[in-house]
């Protein structure tokens, strides 16, 4: 294999990785090239996957949405995917700038596995299953099993992320993020909230406020009992506020160069309150 393979099919990418499991997978380059330019990484072999058609596909089924690893943020925002997974589209719109969104991909966000990766809370709230293929065939796992630490995944040498499969519940979805600007910011805190009117559940996951991507399960269970599922009335302010506090309890933020733990915990509470109010605002009840 030459040092650089720009794979034109999934088979070609798999074969290149099978013969050189140590090769570096390159998608949009918006994380990897930063490291290469800084001299932090010097790959000896690269398998480019941005042009693999199988990875660029997405599909919308009755209750599942499949998003190929190579789907870009621009595509998440501007195609019918935006209607099928609105929180994913909202998250995509907050990423970087147009050229970053044109190149950056879902698979790259997963591969980097930063706690501030903006699609990750959305994937967690939509019960995503991550599909990977490698020399030993296909594996599927939840986000919790895929992201095993800060910027650490359980991908094995020679494995490729193929897609994420998401729920498509009947109900509104919200993604909210806090940063110093409306563009070009890495999240100081991020939150995805999904209402499921058939299961009568609320699912809420957090970004940039823990080592992983926690679900606020206690708050989710509590708030499901507070919602007027039958009549579509909005949520009381008191319920929304308490939900915020309970969600914040699921975070375990740290002080770093972007923010402080105290501010992050506060921000999570505000985001959770706001997301719940929006998701259950009267009108359009039950429709995504």
């Amino acid at each position: 294999m030459s040092d650089v393979v720009v794979a034109q099919s999934l088979d070609e990418a798999r074969e290149a990785l099978a013969s050189h499991p140590d090769a570096t997978v390159l998608a949009g380059g918006t994380d990897l090239m930063v490291e290469i330019n800084r001299g932090l990484r010097r790959p000896r072999r690269v398998v480019g996957v941005a042009q693999v058609p199988e990875l660029r596909r997405w599909s919308v089924g009755a209750d599942r949405v499949v998003v190929g690893a190579g789907v870009t943020y621009t595509e998440m925002m501007t195609t019918a995917l935006a209607d099928a997974a609105p929180a994913l589209a909202q998250a995509a719109r907050t990423v970087g700038s147009p050229p970053i969104r044109n190149a950056g991909s879902l698979g790259g966000n997963l591969g980097t596995a930063s706690p501030a990766g903006d699609t990750l809370p959305v994937l967690a709230a939509l019960n995503a299953e991550i599909v990977v293929v490698g020399p030993d065939g296909e594996r599927r796992m939840g986000l919790d099993d895929f992201v095993v630490g800060v910027k650490q995944t359980n991908l094995r040498p020679g494995e490729l992320i193929v897609a994420a499969e998401l729920d498509r519940p009947r109900g509104r979805q919200e993604f909210l993020k806090i940063g110093p600007r409306n563009a070009m910011v890495i999240s100081m805190a991020g939150l995805a909230l999904v209402a499921d009117h058939d299961a009568r559940t609320v699912r809420c996951a957090l970004g940039a406020v823990a080592a992983g991507i926690p679900r606020a399960r206690e708050a989710e269970a509590w708030v499901a009992g507070q919602i007027d599922w039958d009549n579509g009335a909005g949520v009381d302010d008191a319920v929304a506020d308490e939900f915020g506090q309970r969600v914040a309890a699921a975070s375990s933020p740290i002080d770093d160069h972007r923010s402080t733990a105290a501010y992050r915990r506060h921000a999570v509470a505000v985001l959770a309150t706001r997301a719940l109010q929006r998701a259950f605002a009267p009108g359009g009840h039950g429709d995504a």
């Binding site: 030459s2 040092d3 720009v6 949009g28 380059g29 930063v34 690269v46 700038s97 147009p98 050229p99």
Partner: protein, 160 residues
């Protein structure tokens, strides 16, 4: 060392030899092909002064591994004007509106504005701000850039 490869830049095939695997498209354009219109400021995707079009898609060339761009159509700021001495409508508007001070951010902005007006001939202020949200300018304060975009859009719309 990667095998030699060829890049198609502004319609011209350019051979690239003796390269290092880690070279970005930005580096190859400037240092190997002598196309210095594309600017190098951050090499981390933060400023868009290196913006080019790849198969018509607005891209930060600093984040493209050069060897992977073989076979694609690369358009740099040099490829946007109408020949060496003719300015494009967008370039003309930047000059007229005083949207250029030191000029370092200008090539990236010109490419981004061409891309915007291609997709959206009548952008709102909000559209322009969002489209250019990745382009950093340390001099102008952006007001004149905004004016130049609207002026270029109006000129383009008035052309047959």
């Amino acid at each position: 060392m990667p095998d030699p490869y060829s890049l198609r830049v502004n319609g011209v095939e350019c051979e690239v030899t003796d390269t290092d695997l880690a070279e970005s498209l930005l580096f190859v354009l400037r240092e190997r092909l002598g196309l210095t219109g594309t600017k190098n400021a951050c090499t981390e995707g933060e400023c868009s002064s290196c913006a080019v079009l790849i198969d018509g898609v607005l891209t930060c060339s600093c984040l493209v591994l050069a060897a992977t761009a073989a076979g694609q159509e690369i358009t740099t700021v040099e490829g946007l004007g109408d020949g060496r001495d003719e300015l494009s409508v967008v370039q003309e508007a930047f000059v007229e509106e005083g949207a250029v001070q030191c000029g370092f951010c200008t090539p990236g902005l010109i490419v981004a504005v061409h891309d915007l007006l291609e997709a959206n001939p009548e952008p709102s202020d909000g559209d322009v701000r969002e489209a250019l949200s990745g382009n950093l300018c340390r001099c102008t304060g952006y007001g004149r850039i905004l004016a130049a975009v609207h002026s270029a859009a109006a000129t383009k719309r008035s052309q047959p």
